[in-house]
């Protein structure tokens, strides 16, 4: 066996003390830092406890409540009964739930998949070539709309969209138009596009930096238009980024609660996306069991979307 020979030589070359240490420490520390299992667990435990208390337990608790008739007040609050899948079945027959699903799809498609995606890419693409001060200014403004607290932002948009003396009405010359009442979903979609574009812009800015400049210049030299360059040169490079970005902003938007601050789901459920629907069922209607069941359905919907995106990503790879 000629293959075995080098190993034998190697073994002989290991100095004696080193060999002893290797043999003696095999049980205690096999990790690079030499902590040993017990101490390693000690370091990780606080984080695990926090995750358990604030994430895992509430999630499991929601699943449990979802199969009971738990209510905020009354007899069912004191002694909830397990009702099995009754909550899920009644959701499937609930016209308000259907309405909320449809509005959520509309909200996600309009403000995230189309709005934030396109506006974010357009900003990233157009800001490449401009003067640094202009780029910094625009980027800061876009970022500001992202990092401001939701309550502050909601208040600002009330000021813009107000029926009497709102900025938008003054600009458009349409006094007396109550945007949040007459066009609640359209207002929410525009609002959320404005609110969340910064993330897409940042992601696409760094994605575009990875496109080799010589390839863009080759396109310029053969006379490709802006659209041809994006389609033929840029997009194939950033396809993975587009998928990742779309997945993230879709999920964030589907679970976003800020619409409640602007329209509270109204008027007459016309802007009641799923998170708002769940909140109103739970705290205004007191149906904690039913609301938990719908939460779980929303979670399943999120998972489904994530799976589709992951499948697309993998096919690309």
């Amino acid at each position: 066996m000629p293959a075995a020979e080098p190993e034998v030589v190697l073994e002989r070359e290991v100095p004696a003390p080193q060999r002893n240490r290797r043999a003696g420490s095999r049980a205690a520390a096999t990790d690079a830092a030499g902590l040993g299992r017990a101490r390693a667990v000690g370091f990780v435990a606080p984080a695990l406890v926090l995750i358990g208390v604030f994430l895992v337990f509430p999630a499991l608790w929601t699943i449990y409540i979802g199969v009971t008739d738990y209510q905020l007040t009354g007899a069912a609050a004191a002694a909830p009964k397990v009702v099995g899948l009754a909550n899920f079945l009644s959701a499937l027959n609930d016209g308000l739930f259907h309405n909320a699903v449809w509005l959520t799809v509309l909200f996600v498609l309009g403000s995230a998949v189309i709005g934030q995606n396109l506006l974010g890419f357009a900003l990233a693409w157009l800001l490449r070539g401009v003067r640094p001060w202009l780029r910094r200014t625009v980027e800061s403004m876009v970022l500001l709309s992202w990092i401001l607290p939701s309550t502050v932002v909601a208040y600002l948009w009330f000021a813009v969209l107000d029926r009497n003396g709102g900025t938008l009405n003054a600009l458009l010359g349409t006094p007396g138009t109550a945007w949040l009442v007459t066009y609640p979903m359209a207002s929410l979609i525009v609002f959320n596009t404005w609110r969340g574009t910064a993330f897409s812009m940042l992601l696409y800015t760094s994605a575009l930096a990875a496109v080799p400049p010589s390839q863009l210049e080759t396109a310029r030299l053969v006379g490709a238009s802006g659209w041809q360059t994006v389609r033929d040169v840029v997009f194939p490079h950033i396809r993975g980024h587009v998928l990742t970005n779309t997945l993230l902003i879709s999920l964030w938007t589907a679970n976003d609660f800020t619409p409640f601050l602007l329209t509270a789901g109204g008027p007459n459920h016309a802007s009641e996306t799923l998170p708002v629907f769940i909140y109103r069922q739970a705290l205004e209607g007191g149906q904690l069991g039913y609301a938990s069941a719908v939460s779980l359905l929303l979670l399943l919907g999120n998972l489904l979307v994530a799976l589709v995106y992951l499948r697309l990503l993998r096919r690309r790879g």
Binding site: S214, T218, L221, G223, A224
Partner: protein
């Protein structure tokens, strides 16, 4: 087909750097032209300004009879091959080559035709359906060339075309490139920092430094008569000997030797000069090991011997510490410590001004006036 005419061209970057500084240049129709210089000399900026990828700040670029100074790159009818080839990784070789035609919305059939026609001449015919990632460096370079040729541009621009290839492949690609350019007769400008590449390929070379041209000429002229010490230092695979000296009694005193100056020069007694001699142009005087100092040859002891293959680069150290390099055939390689007496071949000694570093040439008459004045 067209020549290129550049007049008083300056390209200034937003940070104030004048990368190209008031430069004039004419490239003839069908010429293979090299822009040569160290990094940061402005050669790539000049090429990119010709292509329109950088905006000229002053001056004009003309291609053929068209002023293209303010035209978009796409409207200039120039093709460019980048150092990294800039092939689109998601397209096949055929799609890459035909991409310029696709941009012009030509039919799929004519795109495929063009790809097949161009690739045949570059022995890429069998690779048309591969992707760039599946090709070797040399093949990738030929695809990039094919894409540049397929557009049938007036001018071909190459940015460091050979520097991404390994040394062996580079020589093959060099020969290939020269043949291709001859066959096409396409006006071609290429940028390189490798003087050997420029000497081997180009019909004419512009040696650049600090955004302007130091010397413009054929490879022979640039190699044999560098106009200043910068060019002398830059050109040649073994660096030229540049030795400080003095004019005394009509001779050049350098490193303890008295050499005959080039003919026809009007020399001012006592002025400092720099004597330039290529190592290839120095000869060992046989049997002159024992001659005394002050004779016609440079005396020194062999300090270093570097084997270059067919020749060896021998560095001798003179009595005053000056180091002089010369090449000798490998079979005559001297031992370290041997004392040698070397002389420049006839007509190969160049003299540069001791202060300005400019080549002292035989022609101008104002020099002789100065000489007469100092005699008087």
């Amino acid at each position: 087909m067209a020549g290129i005419e550049i007049a008083e061209l300056s390209t200034v970057y937003p940070n104030g750097v004048r990368a190209v500084d008031g430069l004039d240049l004419t490239v003839a129709d069908g010429e293979f032209f090299a822009l040569l210089g160290p990094s940061g000399c402005g050669k790539t900026t000049l090429l990119r300004t010709m292509a329109g990828l950088e905006q000229a700040s002053e001056g004009a670029v003309r291609i053929g009879d068209r002023d293209v100074t303010r035209l978009d790159p796409g409207a200039r009818r120039v093709a460019m091959v980048f150092q990294d080839y800039a092939l689109f990784p998601h397209m096949t070789v055929a799609e890459n080559i035909a991409y310029p035609l696709r941009v012009r919305r030509m039919s799929k059939v004519s795109q495929r035709d063009a790809a097949e026609r161009t690739s045949a001449g570059l022995s890429l015919g069998a690779l048309l359906d591969r992707r760039p990632g599946q090709l070797s460096g040399g093949q990738q370079q030929r695809v990039a060339l094919a894409r540049a040729i397929a557009v049938e541009a007036d001018v071909l621009l190459l940015d460091e075309p050979l520097s991404n290839l390994d040394a062996r492949l580079r020589l093959e690609a060099r020969t290939f490139l020269k043949k291709l350019q001859r066959d096409l007769g396409l006006t071609t400008v290429f940028v390189t920092h490798d003087q050997a590449e420029a000497l081997a390929l180009a019909d004419r070379i512009a040696v650049m430094e600090s955004g302007s041209i130091r010397q413009l000429g054929s490879p022979k002229e640039v190699f044999q008569r560098p106009v200043d010490t910068f060019v002398a230092n830059f050109i040649g695979s073994t660096p030229m000997n540049l030795l400080d000296g003095l004019i005394a009694d009509g001779m050049v005193e350098v490193a303890g030797a008295r050499l005959a100056p080039p003919e026809g020069l009007d020399l001012v007694e006592g002025t400092p000069v720099v004597a330039g001699i290529r190592p290839e142009y120095l000869r060992v005087v046989p049997g002159a090991q024992e001659v005394t100092e002050g004779v016609a040859g440079i005396l020194g002891a062999v300090a270093i011997v570097e084997n270059l293959g067919v020749t060896s680069l021998v560095t001798i150290e003179c009595a005053d510490g000056t180091l002089v390099g010369l090449t000798v055939p490998e079979q005559h390689e001297p031992a370290v410590g041997t004392r040698l007496c070397v002389v420049p071949e006839a007509g190969r000694l160049l003299l540069y001004g001791g202060e300005d570093g400019l080549l002292l040439s035989a022609r101008p008459s104002d020099h002789s006036a100065e000489f007469d004045r100092s005699r008087a």
